[in-house]
Symmetry: C2
Subunit: 324 residues, 2 copies
């Protein structure tokens, strides 16, 4: 059995072996660039781990795993255009390095390439794998749509928020696990349980991300603290705070949300003080734990030995108890 690190390495080697020097260069070069920026390769790693869990060889799931990583990077590429983001993983985004049209068109080509890689699986699972991938990818688009709509709203409820992060973040982790399981020969029931595991981990992961933005260790957290606060992102913390706040705190929060001009540090300090007073950090931790436990409960029900599941428990721990 391969370790998480060996699997991650296998994914990286496979990605590095791909040849993107195809004509027209202007279409494929940005794809190579995006895929070379790195990242933890969590999604394909999950696929391969799920495949291995059922006794499958890594090769059986490698095509779909890489397809899902290409899809993930495609979605980041187009999201960056929509968010007008200048940087991604410490490098200029494609629409900054090239231009917007290139970012749109190379992204489109990436999505098609993703399907081509997903197709590299056994005939026996081909249709089920493709179905999971399409449903997953559509879910990610729906999540991005909700996320964009939330930007201009201040009345987002917690269930709405959870549905948004389920779609935008969790379904791709869950879909990656399910696809890998199917490639490895899992029953549909076990594949679905792994999907549920992925949903739980994904929700907890995203709530942790929200928490880190406020309570993370600046030195360890990759980005500046308070980024979400400054751009009024509807995070678990903000939504919970708006729901829990008394009239005075709510008015102060709404005032900060409405301000067009402000000192960034001052806003972070003021909003964090309200979060502290309302103790929403603890609420986030409680929610995280809840989703983490649902994830674990699903994984426990998968019909293979607990010993074999250990790497998946470990990966979930790594993702949720991370400090960056």
């Amino acid at each position: 059995m391969k370790s998480i690190e060996e699997i991650q390495q296998a994914v990286k080697s496979y990605l590095a072996s791909l040849d993107w020097h195809i004509a027209p260069v202007g279409l494929y070069e940005p794809i190579e660039y995006v895929l070379s920026l790195g990242g933890k390769r969590i999604r394909p790693t999950l696929s391969l781990m799920a495949c291995q869990l059922f006794g499958g060889k890594l090769e059986q799931a490698m095509g779909p795993a890489i397809g899902l990583e290409i899809f993930h990077n495609f979605s980041l590429l187009h999201d960056d255009v929509m968010d007008k983001a200048d940087m991604r993983r410490g490098h200029p985004t494609v629409h900054k390095k090239w231009n917007e049209n290139t970012a749109i068109l190379s992204g489109d080509a990436m999505l098609i390439k993703a399907y081509q890689f997903v197709s590299k699986c056994d005939d026996s699972v081909y249709r089920s794998v493709l179905d999971v991938v399409s449903a997953t990818c559509l879910g990610v688009c729906e999540g991005q749509q909700y996320d964009m709509e939330f930007e201009t709203r201040t009345d987002v409820s917690l269930p709405e928020y959870l549905e948004m992060i389920r779609l935008k973040t969790a379904v791709l982790l869950a879909g990656s696990l399910k696809v890998g399981a199917l490639c490895g020969g899992a029953s549909l029931q076990d594949a679905d349980l792994l999907y549920d595991f992925g949903i739980g981990v994904g929700l907890a992961f995203q709530i942790k991300d929200d928490w880190l933005d406020v309570y993370g260790d600046v030195a360890k957290f990759g980005k500046a603290i308070g980024g979400d606060i400054n751009c009024n992102k509807k995070t678990f913390l903000l939504i919970t705070a708006l729901e829990k706040a008394d009239a005075v705190s709510k008015a102060t929060l709404m005032e900060w949300l409405a301000k067009e001009k402000f000192d960034r540090a001052e806003k972070v300090k003021a909003v964090t003080a309200i979060y502290d007073k309302l103790d929403v950090g603890s609420d986030a931790e409680k929610a995280m734990r809840h989703h983490y436990e649902s994830a674990v409960a699903a994984l426990k029900r998968v019909s293979v030995s607990e010993e074999l599941k250990k790497p998946l428990y470990d990966l979930a721990d790594q993702l949720l108890y991370r400090e960056d």
Copy 2:
């Protein structure tokens, strides 16, 4: 056997029966809008005709046929963003009616939906159909990339131009035919011959389009005459003119291409005069005929009776001897 008109009607009815009232509305409403703008539905019609040619029922190819039409409209949607086009089929484009982010994201969702429809085919042809679709869609992206690159070049050769229109226009017609043929139970050899028929028709169709822009009947041609001339589009006529022109005509042409400010009617008149003098209209007609004949030669070799092929010959004639 169904007539072309009956098949077109079946496509239109199927499209009209689709329910796009799905949450999030902001994602799916633009898709419904784009698909409701009409068009001749040539691609799905070709798929269904090809299916019928081999004795298949229309239902066998309907899913993939609709998927290809959704893909075609997706590519128009993203092209309109890239070209900053305001209108499409007499209606505001999606990025004008909504905004650019909506056009990008709803387009992405359309591409995934296209794959979901393409999946609605028999297991026996599923993999071959998906492979043709992915290769076709990637070809269209490559064609669009070349087309954008040509905008800033004045040294585009005729072979380069033909490769661009092959990718941007012809492969989707060809792929639609091949997919329909496969769904209808054709041998790979016959499906490939239909593909070649589609390439020939597609090349002739695009050259006709270039020709109509200059020599079309204003009343019958949907758009204003000379649109391509005004925006320096690298058409069959312009490229041939640049290749045939003597030093004086070439200098005049290059001068018009370089002008930033000009009277549109005057430019159309001057450039058309050069085209007339060099007789590039006849060259275009010759090239059209050549590709049309290749198309017919491929169709002739398909192993079904000539009687059954008649609607396909008729459709090719309709497309190539059209005046709009």
